[in-house]
Subunit: 195 residues, 2 copies
DNA sequence: GTCTATATGGGGATAGAC
DNA sequence: GTCTATCCCCATATAGAC
């Protein structure tokens, strides 16, 4: 097997394990085992754990950009694009109830570790924020596009946090409906919802 | 020093370290050092790390109940009590920007570890949910009191999550104002905000 | 109730054979 | 590129002196 292919597999497995069990709780042995690699050989591909973390964050950035691009292509209007974002709460509900939001849980863990990569992880949120702000601007809300983007991003985070704690799928669906209603209200309004 | 006093100190220090650095990242040695205790003596008070975690959660439950009781006593109306809850985002903003919400970050970590105490940690959220639901019921919203409680709890979590990632105090203040406006709208409405 | 000393295991990381 | 063997450190946890 080629080295680049093995490397890609390692990053995929690490990405999943970091999400499901956390960065610290995941050991080299765990990753190596899931890839089907010996611990020794592992170090041929990655020298340190931080290096793997960097690769995982870079891949998530790349995957997120690709996903946002697809949403942009597939949705006919800015409002529908924002709905695509809102609906990941439904699409990913099972994993969210088990492990939370992959972005915020990583950011929180790295913040507590005071890890050098914590700002890089927060960059994932920036991707969503900027993309959402673009959509709100396209809706004619240039003046407060970023505030609106942060507001809907905030809601998705809040829903994910409580969904994990309570494992309540009805709660997710209710709040998603509420977010849809909120979005609809923004489309037919040009005033700031923020005092 | 009495054993019970030492034990109390251990729980206080563990509570703080679990919050600031996470459960897994905090070692017995870290706690012992901050208490001013040798590692060996530590085991006289707590046999396992899970035992400390249980004591920390129990103390947080107790402290939270006490705080909610104070809010109940000090505020003249249900709406003012809910405002007390909303304003912890402002009061604790510095720690939230550095370490996130102590409840959700613990719940998320324990969920990823699939730890036996994860439901106990989620019980902290239940305390807030039930207390908030009581206030909404007192506002005449008996029918959807719990949904409203979860909604405002959800928002506080979303704000905390993004505040940690972006370290943006203005964002916190803006969203708190928005929560106040939402609460005001609920007070002068008897219809469900949820479709 | 507090200490020092120590057992045991797992983690990250390296060396060197194949 | 992959393996085995190994080093070192730190973590939980225990034993036993004081």
């Amino acid at each position: 097997m080629g080295a680049s292919e093995t490397r890609r597999q390692i990053v995929d497995v690490a990405d999943q394990l970091f999400y499901e069990h956390g960065f610290e709780a995941t050991s080299f042995a765990d990753i190596a085992q899931d890839v089907g690699l010996s611990r020794g050989n592992f170090y041929y591909h990655f020298k340190t754990k931080d290096e793997i973390l960097g690769a995982v964050i870079a891949q998530r950035m790349s995957n997120t950009r690709a996903m946002l691009e697809v949403w942009k292509q597939e949705a006919a209007s800015p409002a529908e694009r924002i709905l695509s974002f809102i609906h990941i709460l439904i699409a990913n509900r099972t994993k969210i109830m088990a492990y939370g939001c992959p972005v915020s849980t990583l950011c929180n863990e790295l913040a507590k570790l005071d890890h050098a990569a914590k700002d890089d992880a927060a960059g994932l949120f920036s991707l969503f924020r900027d993309w959402l702000a673009q959509q709100f601007a396209a809706l004619g809300r240039e003046a407060d596009a970023e505030a609106l983007a942060l507001h809907i991003l905030m809601r998705s985070q809040g829903v994910a946090a409580l969904a994990t704690a309570f494992c309540d799928e009805n709660f997710i669906r209710r709040e998603v409906s509420d977010m849809e209603a909120w979005l609809h209200a923004q489309c037919s309004s040009s005033s700031l919802p923020h005092s």
